[in-house]
Subunit: 457 residues, 2 copies
């Protein structure tokens, strides 16, 4: 077996907390996406930073790959052990270490999920705002630079991680950032590890910014005749400085799926879903201003959801849209891809994508975080139909081409992993080589999540 | 002369745009701070990215140091050519290249100052919010990760730079980031170069986020019996989610200086200065909520400044506080130092600093960006009195010790340069070595602003 010597030392270190059982390896070889399964050689379940450091030191001594694992919900194959080795599953490092109410921050272990954190915070009046949909681990969300529906107001993981503890490729442990709100003290190492997808080190602790739970929340849904009108309403809203907490776009195909899945009867048009957070007066004012903008752009079927249960229903519908779309074709699989463009080019990007999918006979409803210019297509294919899968993959590639041509990026929030690595040279030019130089400087033997994100060594 | 061969090639390249005149070298050897003058061997005035890349290629071939220069307003000696070489003065690269109204972003050359940019933006309804006080260049502000009075609302340069063009140490030109609002496409190179103080490359273009000019602005000043009450009022305000655009603290010594300088009669107590941005209704609501919090904490002498001229007077007073403080002792010099702590420890940090300065006979009024936990002390000394200068420097060191002990950072916004380099190992531990590894990977011959920020090679 590969990496025998490493596994022997790891087994001495971890005992039961290292598993080689087939079912566990299989479970940690899968992704939520369309990549081939790649079971690792072993799965380790550390309970402390010291154990993680010891694991990495053993792997470094033997040249054995080390791949971090949160909840396995990444969408570009980030956690797949494509060169074998050890998957480090952080599910047993799931403690909320310290909530600082006055400073509105929290220290957590990487295995804490965002829902578990918010459950723990409920009584404090604070919450952690980043919401990628999946109940992902916070270590995984940081590693992927996740964002989601609330980024338009509260930012992405880049903006909400104050500091990290990281185990480096040689087993050294460093702390980045501080509990201060800002710092000019040298290179932004926190920012370097956020989004590095475990290729530079393993995150073993995070200090996160929290937000005050808003006094009032109000949400709404409305329909537009076309995508251009919906996007222009969003642009006007942003320019007026109306602080939306969420503003989501769903295309007509997604609306059809949701109607069928949840027995709803939304008009078959593009929709916006919005949410405002603030004081009672502030939310009312925001809602009124937004309503006026929507009317100017021909928005219709405006429905407010002010009661908590109505709001919950609204966002459940949005979060379930993925499943609603999959339910359109039972047994299908999907490429869930995302790109992000300047908002002025969003309508153009979405319309061109819809036309392209139609032209190439690919089913792919579109939805996204319109306030950020970020949208997803869920490109469905029959796993038994290789030609259809190839068409879907090619369409995903053209989405990236289009995003780059419009001044955007190959991924707004899903990350690179395996799926987007082929576009890195085109997006970054020599900047991709710079990423490779940074990688070689911090992980010269290429043991941290090898085969991902950076150029081959 | 040192670097003769490099200067000869640079002179062929640049002609008149390379100067070796003593007055120009002297001007580019000074800082606004207390460091010894270090005139460079030459000053280059490039007009384009291509010229900057050619300069760097020549310097790389000859091992000649390259130091970027914006407006020379950095406070920790960042632009001083401590190992000689060429200072690259960006003052002729001062074009606003493109304003994108719909996307609320702008592309600028690095020599554009923040005031020049805002003058250019006035008619657009947009503005660039980061305000460090000095009319610094945007390239310099990015390189220092500057912030200032508005960071509590709009963030620092870290948050407001979307992308960069950078000339690397070997003359390659890369573009980082995109015009999309967010990206998960690999390492955050934009964030790596922001705050790198020119040690990894020279910034030749910036894409910056803009904000909508607020419909309404309201500002106020109020006094507190002690620092603890003022800080607690700020903590409560943040926790209530009241979106302050600025919230500044000035201590009693600063108030005395301002009163004397501007013939004012503010009560001799700690003060807060605040500003709210928003809609008419929003600002009125925020002001009312803030007033209630201030009253709870014994705030008094509350004065609103709603008219633009009153607001201008208020912030002019704040921005002139530095000169007011220097005017306390004509002929003195000062160490303008800054630290940043978790806001819950701010009162403690400021009070301990005041006590320490008194105990060691150092004059040093304190003011700062209280919403971020960031404060400055202006430690004055007679340049002819070496003992007093040594006492001031030692007091600055103890401020850092205290900030680190309280979970903070050695600098919130002034950066490392020469002045804070001695604290890097203590603040970052092995993280400082990681910064050194990144530096060596990108600049193996140590020509980019050598002697700053990272460990000696």
């Amino acid at each position: 077996m590969a990496h025998d010597a490493a596994l022997k030392d790891l087994s001495s270190l971890l005992g039961d907390a290292l598993t080689l059982s087939k079912s566990d390896l299989d479970l940690h070889g899968r992704s939520e996406s369309h990549f081939p399964d790649t079971p690792p050689d072993a799965v380790a379940y550390p309970r402390s930073t010291e154990e993680v450091a010891a694991i990495v030191r053993i792997c470094a001594a033997h040249g054995c790959p080390v791949v971090g694992w949160g909840t396995g919900t990444s969408l570009e194959g980030q956690s797949q052990a494509v060169q074998g080795g050890v998957v480090v599953d952080f599910s047993r490092m799931d403690r909320v270490i310290e909530v600082n109410q006055a400073d509105m921050d929290v220290r957590v272990q990487p295995g804490v999920t965002r829902e578990a954190l918010n459950a723990e915070l409920r009584a404090t009046g604070l919450f952690f705002p980043v919401d990628p949909g999946a109940n992902a681990s916070l270590g995984g969300m940081a590693s992927t630079r996740a964002s989601g529906t609330t980024a338009v107001r509260y930012g992405t993981m880049r903006d909400n991680v104050l500091g990290l503890e990281v185990v480096l490729a040689d087993g050294r442990v460093i702390r980045t950032g501080t509990r201060a709100r800002k710092s000019s003290a040298g290179y932004d190492l926190t920012g370097l590890f956020v989004g590095a997808e475990g290729t530079l080190g393993l995150i073993t602790e995070l200090t996160l910014r929290l937000q005050g739970q808003p006094e009032a929340i109000s949400a709404a849904v409305c329909a537009f005749d076309d995508i251009g009108a919906a996007v222009q309403a969003v642009i006007d809203t942003i320019q007026m400085g109306i602080p939306m907490a969420r503003i989501e776009f769903v295309d007509t195909a997604s609306v059809r799926a949701v109607n069928a899945y949840a027995d709803m009867s939304l008009p078959q048009k593009p929709h916006l879903l919005v949410e405002f957070h603030g004081s009672e007066g502030g939310v009312a004012e925001q809602a009124e201003s937004f309503g006026a903008i929507v009317a100017e752009h021909g928005g219709s079927d405006f429905q407010w959801a002010q009661k908590p249960e109505d709001r919950t229903a609204l966002w459940k519908m949005r979060h379930n849209a993925f499943y609603a779309i999959l339910a359109l074709r039972p047994g299908c699989r999907s490429i869930v891809t995302d790109v992000c463009v300047p908002i002025s080019r969003l309508a153009e990007a979405v319309e061109a994508t819809i036309a392209d999918l139609e032209a190439h006979d690919v089913t792919g409803p579109i939805l996204g975080h319109v306030g950020d210019g970020n949208f997803h297509a869920i490109l469905m294919f029959d796993p038994a139909d290789a030609a259809e899968e190839a068409r879907a993959l090619a369409a995903a590639g053209r989405m990236v081409d289009r995003a780059l041509a419009l001044g955007g990026t190959s991924t707004g929030e899903h990350g690179i992993g395996l799926g987007k690595r082929g576009y890195m040279a085109r997006e970054h030019g020599d900047g991709w080589e710079v990423m490779g130089s940074v990688k070689r400087a911090l992980d010269p033997n290429d043991i941290m999540n090898p085969g991902k994100l950076v150029p081959d060594p």
